[in-house]
Amino acid sequence: MAVHPTRRVVLAAAVTLPLAAVSGCGGANVLASPPRPAADVGLLRSAIAAEQLMIARYGAVIGGTTAAMSSTLAPLLAEHRAHLVQLRSRLVVPAGSPTPSQRAPAAPAGVPSAPGAALAYLRDAERAAASALLGRLPHAPASLAQLLASISASEASHVPVLDRAAAR
């Protein structure tokens, strides 16, 4: 006897939920759209893509440079790889979503070959990446905001290193 009301409540809830979704959001496509991943999944994916691009940029510059310059760049690249590991460890992909690429994208086009210009290219990229992360902070849950802010600070600290290397 006790089973029936419970089942009825569950069935009623199952019927009511989609209706509430339709009347609440007012769009016919509400029922058709898959469940949206949490906001931090989108933030993580864009931060991961940014780190992959940065790693590809360093790879492209290191590939065409002197040993002295690569010894300056290698520790910075290692830090970007560490950023990527931490960002990926936070990414919990919802069931049914496409798996993000595990490999860094192909080498970006337009990487300058002259050493000074290549260092300036990396410096500008670091500055832009650090600033882009600051822009993402308001939308992140607290612990992710701390990770993004720390990565942003690490990238900001690379800027003077690249400037000093360019001045040598």
Binding site: E79, H83, R90, L137, S150, S152, A153, S157
Partner: protein, 153 residues
């Protein structure tokens, strides 16, 4: 819900913690500067001034939120003895690391302007710390215990 009641105790406590770290940094840079010469002394002076500017900003932020800013202590116990320029540089690194932790505390708050301020100060601290250390780090301010152990990289 709490938006009408002004900043919560968590916000005030985090701002006070950042201010206390700045007071300690200002004291510590005063000591470090005494053991440095030349460019080291000049860098210590400019970092010391930067911390004073940030201290003033934090005091204003606290007053704007109806809180009385914590005062500096008359003296601070230094984390390590300073007798040489190298030890002075090490002290500066420790001061910046402590300030960085306090600013990460601000980043955890929900108020967007405080979050951004904390992140900007974390950047500034990481740049100063890297100059004193002679190298950069991957996660300024974040303790290793908060980082996921790398699985297979």
């Amino acid at each position: 819900m709490s938006g009408r009641t002004g900043p919560g105790p968590v916000t005030i406590a985090a701002l006070q913690a950042a201010l206390a770290a700045e007071h300690a940094a200002i004291y510590g840079y005063g000591v470090a500067g005494a053991y440095l010469t030349g460019t080291g002394r000049a860098t210590a002076t400019s970092d010391w001034l930067a911390h004073q500017v940030t201290r003033d900003t934090l005091e204003a932020m606290l007053r704007a939120r109806g809180a009385k800013p914590v005062a500096a202590a008359a003296g601070y116990q230094l984390p390590a003895a300073v007798r040489t320029p190298a030890e002075a540089a090490q002290l500066a690194v420790i001061l910046e690391d402590r300030v960085a932790v306090a600013y990460l505390g601000l980043v955890a708050l929900s108020e967007a302007s405080i979050r951004r301020f904390g992140a900007e100060q974390l950047q500034a601290s990481a740049v100063r710390a890297a100059a004193w250390r002679g190298s950069t780090v991957a996660f300024p301010g974040l303790p290793a215990s908060l980082l996921a152990a790398p699985r297979h990289v």
